[in-house]
Symmetry: D2
Subunit: 347 residues, 4 copies
């Protein structure tokens, strides 16, 4: 069975394993205060052209999401999120478990939130005809870049969200679990520098982009960094041997590695997409990144699934199903080509 169901089926990039082995018996301070974490922080700040940003490392996405949100909000404040946002659906209510409501906003199949939607929500909240303090105060806007469905916010869209956040005194937080695939998409109209310019805080995902595990939180707004290490510790996110996170991001952000391996995954995804289109299978959601969403007749799907594993997304009608096909930094050309051949034949 060949797995295209997600982008965390394999271990990590061999360069990382090498670094682990090379440094294994070095004695370093714990809790992220070692030399390797220092290097990794510097490399990330440089890549973001954000010399003053704080960079903290986490082991996973749910963990970094709720830790950042909990640290940013007062108890009566909530998080504006597209209804399909990962925090709203797939993190077992981790944000609510820290006491904060997620305020879900309907969104298109792309999974994007617009500045207008945020604005409308705030206008309603502060309108005089409703009892303002009886409702959760919107304070942080959560988006994913790329979104859950692989779409990308353009620089202009980010700028508009920033403007509305400034107007209503909101924080903008971008979940970048698949940031590498976004930045290296052929359709990307933004850079890491833009992320740092428009967001108060965002993450750069390692787990799905070549690391064994690890997410980097880039905190641009110093208000959000105040006492942040207490938050890391309290939420169980302070790895004793923090160096393991530092080493991984050091590897990924050296020699352009992060960008090269993600770009390759995008190219393979594009080839698979071309094959699906050619074969006449409609796209469920348009995505220019490593996740692609196609609707197959159930018969065709049944046949493909004997050899390949995809992610179930939705039954679109009685005889068709939408699935996610994921490539990753570890996907081989060989496996992609095999899939492409079989899609062509399945036509």
């Amino acid at each position: 069975m060949i797995y295209f169901n997600c982008d965390y089926n394999e271990g990590g990039h061999p360069k990382i394993l090498e670094l682990f082995a090379e440094t294994n018996f070095d004695q370093t301070p714990g809790y992220g205060e070692d030399l390797y974490c220092g290097h990794a922080r510097a490399l990330i700040r440089k890549a973001c052209r954000a010399e003053k940003a704080a960079v903290h490392f986490f082991t996973g996405g749910t963990q970094v999401n709720f830790t950042v949100i909990r640290a940013a909000l007062r108890p009566h404040q909530g998080v504006v999120s597209p209804v399909t946002g990962h925090i709203n659906i797939h993190e077992t209510g981790a944000v609510e478990a820290t006491g904060h409501k997620v305020l879900p906003v309907p969104c298109s199949v792309e999974g994007k939130l617009s500045a207008e939607q945020v604005s409308a929500l705030c206008e309603e909240h502060y309108s005089e005809s409703v009892p303002t303090e009886h409702m959760v105060q919107p304070k942080l806007v959560y988006i994913s870049q790329p979104t859950e469905n692989g779409a990308l916010y353009s620089r202009d869209e980010l700028a508009s969200l920033r403007a509305v956040c400034d107007k209503w005194n909101l924080y903008l937080f971008a979940d970048g679990a698949r940031m590498g695939y976004g930045l290296t998409s052929a359709q990307a109209e933004y850079t890491l520098e833009d992320m740092a310019k428009y967001c108060d805080v965002f993450t750069i995902g390692g787990t799905k982009c070549g690391a064994l595990f690890g997410e980097a939180a880039v905190i641009v707004n110093p208000e959000l960094d105040r006492d942040f290490r207490y938050a890391i510790k309290q939420n169980g996110a302070m790895l004793a041997k923090g160096r393991l996170l530092g080493l991984q991001f050091e590897a990924l952000f050296s020699d352009n590695l992060y960008f090269e391996i993600c770009k390759k995954a995008n190219l393979l995804a594009e080839k698979i997409t071309a094959a699906c289109r050619e074969a006449g299978f409609p796209e469920y959601a348009p995505s220019p990144t490593n996740q692609r969403f196609f609707i197959f007749p159930d018969k065709v799907l049944g046949k493909l699934q004997k050899k390949y594993c995809f992610s179930f997304w939705e039954k679109t009608d009685d005889t068709h199903t939408a699935v996610r096909i994921c490539t990753s930094w570890a996907t081989t050309e060989e496996n992609a080509d095999a899939l492409i051949r079989d899609i062509r034949e399945a036509r």
Copy 2:
């Protein structure tokens, strides 16, 4: 200005003030362990024909809602609620502040949740094609009886909800902040006995139905009553002079008082509704209880609002607005008649 905007503009029924005065210098134990609370509990159990139910008193609706829910759920469990549910919109995220997600379900303008909707949500949660433990586990169904928009669940609807709750191992909790107006509605197809038969726990509202303040929680399922007094205390709901709550419910549940005063409010509401219909103002939501919802041309509304206060509900179009007109146990025939006259003239 005459207020029809809500049902808590006045104090409490004079009978309650009398009881307070009569018993004022009696020395009693605190924290709800006095004789008056005992009497009130017995009267409520009798009215519900639920001799084994536990009855606890609270000072307000938000307080009783989150205390009951927090005590019932484990951290990964959530509350299924109609999207218009009071806990979902108008309690400043009090449920989320105790760590639990509210799982909102779209609903009609009546504000009702159907057994089918609950069933569909559970089927999706436990389906094999999604990662179950990555989502909040549905465990409690929250409804309001009457709903936020004044509608009523029939006995059959309650029975269906009970059945689906049994199937999926869910608790059924009914928020009865306006229970008196529901029970005495001309269209009521349920009794307190039904509430006790079909719900695991429900509240009987005092604040909006003649008390100065106070809600009674009737806990039918003994599982939910385990250590419940700890929950009352921890959530700041254990009134030192708990007798004040006992005395009020003793008054309300003696000599049919609760039912008589609420019935009168319903009759006045019905008269106002008749006048609106006659005058050709459309109903925004059909309600057989003390809250009525009508759409007025803004010009008409502007005129009425010089003399009367209503609750803004929604702008229905550029020149029309939906408002809530509320009667209560304290509404006088005189004021209702004045309003009716002015509605007729406004036509």
Copy 3:
């Protein structure tokens, strides 16, 4: 049986019941935005000579304590409290239930916290030889005035606590559940004006000092008042008919009522103390307020308890027990005299 076990055995001052009756059918806005609450706030601000302070009303002590603390702190911050503090022992972990650790400091039988103790705790927290962010950050100092054991902080002690709070950037919060008895004690060396001068926030207790129920939170530091009404609502503390709290504090802070009724209770307590001393029963803890603590031989106590109810405090040895004897605004001279006679005879 005559009850001296606590100061909330009776209802409220008759003046309050009168006001309730007089205003019962006035129509007012809900949620504490009525005229009576406005009057009460003005009277309290005047009594504290704190024209800019915010005043909010709550129904009970646990409720106001955890609401204020939750609103003041970020998640990694904790509350410094004497080990005997009410929040540390007798509120079912309400503060912890909002996510914050109570950092208990050992204290004398008086129940007082010293500036030195607070200073030592902070010095340890920020010392370089410990991993600071692995420990809860001290941020708020909680004291009771009078303390749980009836003792009083002098103006100088309050000033010292203020100084240490300023030094370490801490809030000072005084729980004044029995404030009336403190202010009118013969030994009081502080005024309401001092409370407002030295504390960031403090409460003025109604429940134990003549009200049916109610605590006023006086928020002097505007930082703590930001969005505070959201906190009131979220924590279930926003009474629909908020006027009931306003009316009570209006009554208590008019015509010196609060001070007169509390002073009388102190005088009766002093007479009882004199009788105990004369009879040779040792004090367990020295208190100049309405709570008095005496150690009785179990035989004597057994005899007295046939007629009077006290609060058990501690077994001091095999044959002796410390009890609390409480007077209140409602204690009659007749009952106090009866007790005094029986103490004398018990000798």
Copy 4:
């Protein structure tokens, strides 16, 4: 500089790095549902002779502690812990952040809790002379094996704690962050089988005992395992590439590796201890495991610290300081011998 300050200065055992490399491109399911996790679970169950126990993997100690505790308790329940317990002091209030009070019990320098202490606390809680529901209900007993100060509970002590837990209906939870050093201590009077027999749940530490990171929670009481994977996910502890944890515990629990590497650390610690004793430096706390605590004159310490790093523990008087000297699975004989020589010379 040679570090003896803690047991997490190095990476992980080379066998682990080998396994990572060997399996790196295998495609496996995520979230701990892979083959390697399965193997590791089986090996741990076998080592504990607890065929029915559930085994879950976590990345760190704070994380596993608060996740287990949060999943086990209802909101009004608390954790009995020695005052020096890691959860009480060094986890930034992570347990309180989940809403639960830690009920601290004074303990000796060894850091052990006795069955008598637990019993006394429960007797007080349920005594009739106190208002039970006004206090946090004790429900879980937290101990560390070895303790924070390196001491060990004997089989008899564990059996006594079990008995008192059974009597009062409490869970017994043992934090085994340094379990390997405990089990292989020359003075150990317990086995993994005993842990499984007497505890409801306990952890087996990887991070400090040869892993790069990782703790295994062994849940013996099935009540505590109900829906536990939801808890793992909600608390940010479900590693996407869960295989990394499985592989590490598979390595450690194969070929006796865990026990051999920890035993060696204990032997080196014992040699260092012998040198300190011989040199006349008094023990601060008696420990038979890999942490040793000695009091040095500050002058001697200053000299040693030029070459070695220890953990500051306490100033014992003006001219003496207690420090922790830690060995680990990675400590070399060469470094231990160097330290021993310098201690002898420092005499």
